[in-house]
């Protein structure tokens, strides 16, 4: 993990705004995941690191609607995108400490997006249980002991 001083320095240099601009590129409509966008989302999450100053910088740079948009595209299906998972965890960190972010999320339709995401995971869990093999007999799962 990066040190607090490094995160602060990177934030001052404008890395946060640059990453938000990059992820919010209008060319990405709908949001397209690539190795670079995954890395950018991971970098945003790493920069957050519990720093309120960085979270404020993200908010000012417009990260809240961006992160929500990164989630919205995957609401109907389980979150397969790594960048979307970064977006979810980052939004969670931002919302926890900021009433302004929470208000923004509600106004932007975040309740619907998150509810859809949660329900999609619930459906996936049900499907997973139906697919689950009989674990009571290890021989059925592991052919080595047969």
């Amino acid at each position: 993990m990066y040190s607090k001083a490094l995160r602060r320095a990177l934030c001052k240099e404008g890395v946060v705004a640059e990453l938000v601009d990059f992820l919010g590129d209008p060319k990405q409509t709908p949001y397209v995941e690539s190795p670079v966008t995954v890395a950018a989302a991971a970098a945003l999450r790493a920069l957050e690191g519990g720093s309120s100053a960085t979270r404020r910088e993200m908010r000012v740079a417009g990260a809240v609607p961006l992160l929500l948009r990164m989630l919205a595209d995957t609401a109907d299906a389980p979150v397969r995108r790594e960048s979307s998972r970064h977006a979810l965890f980052l939004l969670q960190a931002m919302a926890y400490s900021s009433a302004e972010v929470r208000r923004a999320l509600v106004e932007l339709g975040g309740l619907d997006t998150l509810a859809a995401l949660l329900v999609a995971q619930h459906r996936a869990a049900g499907a997973r249980l139906q697919r689950a093999p009989d674990d009571s007999n290890p021989n059925l799962r592991d052919g080595c002991l047969n």
Partner: protein, 251 residues
């Protein structure tokens, strides 16, 4: 400044902490000047295929994602009754939270059981003197299994607390009526962090009293309101009759 194709080799869709760190390092290693313009545009890289994390259909459910969504919804709902009711009224949310709270705990136990079975199989392989350098497909690393157990535990707690909050914050039958008779929140007794015991009483659709109890700690705002959110005076004092309705895991 360009983002070189070496990113492809370092970026993984695997969700382990190790890969997350690796990914983050790569970003900064390839951005020598923070103000440099990122080139080429994303459209040029969108064709680059991501490394498959697992076969299709095998990792649809991610307890960490479900837990984060539940915690975030709970966080938003804790700001106001209107929002709270909106969360509770969203189709399928209550059922999903019940699953997290109840079935999620079962999943965690099942995961631990599978881990133990895996260890037993490993021991059997040694006895049979099988020359295997790596485990067969499907046998996961011990640390990954522990991470998954943590995710299940967190999901179970997130679902429980969100359910309790939604129930306690809405003394009317509006939310409570959404809880079915079978929606018993199962307390996972092996949670490591224990700082508080939250309990809420509700009455199900048939009018029978139910007692939900959760102990544990997650970053939940509005915990004080949750503790004082008993719908009635009777809810603050536990009687022997109510004890009979406690879930076995919470007695």
């Amino acid at each position: 400044m360009t983002l070189t194709p070496t990113l492809e080799t370092g970026v993984s869709t695997d969700e382990t902490a190790r890969s997350r760190r690796h990914t983050a390092y790569l970003v900064f290693d390839t951005v020598p000047h923070p103000l440099g313009k990122m080139q080429p545009p994303v459209s040029d890289l969108s064709e680059v295929p991501l490394k498959a994390s697992s076969p299709p259909g095998t990792d649809d459910y991610r307890p960490s994602v479900a837990a984060a969504a539940a915690e975030l919804l709970h966080s938003l709902a804790s700001d106001g009754a209107t929002t709270q009711k909106a969360v509770a009224a969203a189709p399928g949310v209550i059922e999903a939270l019940v699953y997290l709270a109840d079935q999620g705990g079962s999943d965690r136990r099942q995961s631990a059981q599978q881990r133990h079975q895996g260890a037993a199989r490993d021991a059997a392989r040694v006895e049979m003197q099988m020359e295997m350098e790596m485990g067969p497909p499907g046998v996961e690393d011990e640390s990954d299994a522990l991470d998954r157990d943590e995710d299940y535990g967190r999901a179970a707690l997130a679902g429980s607390v969100a359910l309790l909050s939604l129930s306690a914050g809405s003394p009317s039958t509006e939310v409570r009526s959404m809880l079915s008779l079978n929606s018993c929140v199962c307390l996972n007794p092996s949670l490591r962090t224990t700082v508080a015991v939250w309990q809420v009483r509700i009455r199900d659709a048939g009018g029978a009293p139910r007692v939900f109890s959760v102990k544990g700690a997650i970053p939940v705002r509005g915990a004080s309101s949750l503790r004082s959110g008993s719908p009635s005076k009777a809810g603050r004092r536990r009687s022997s009759a109510d004890d009979a309705n406690l879930h076995p895991a919470t007695r």
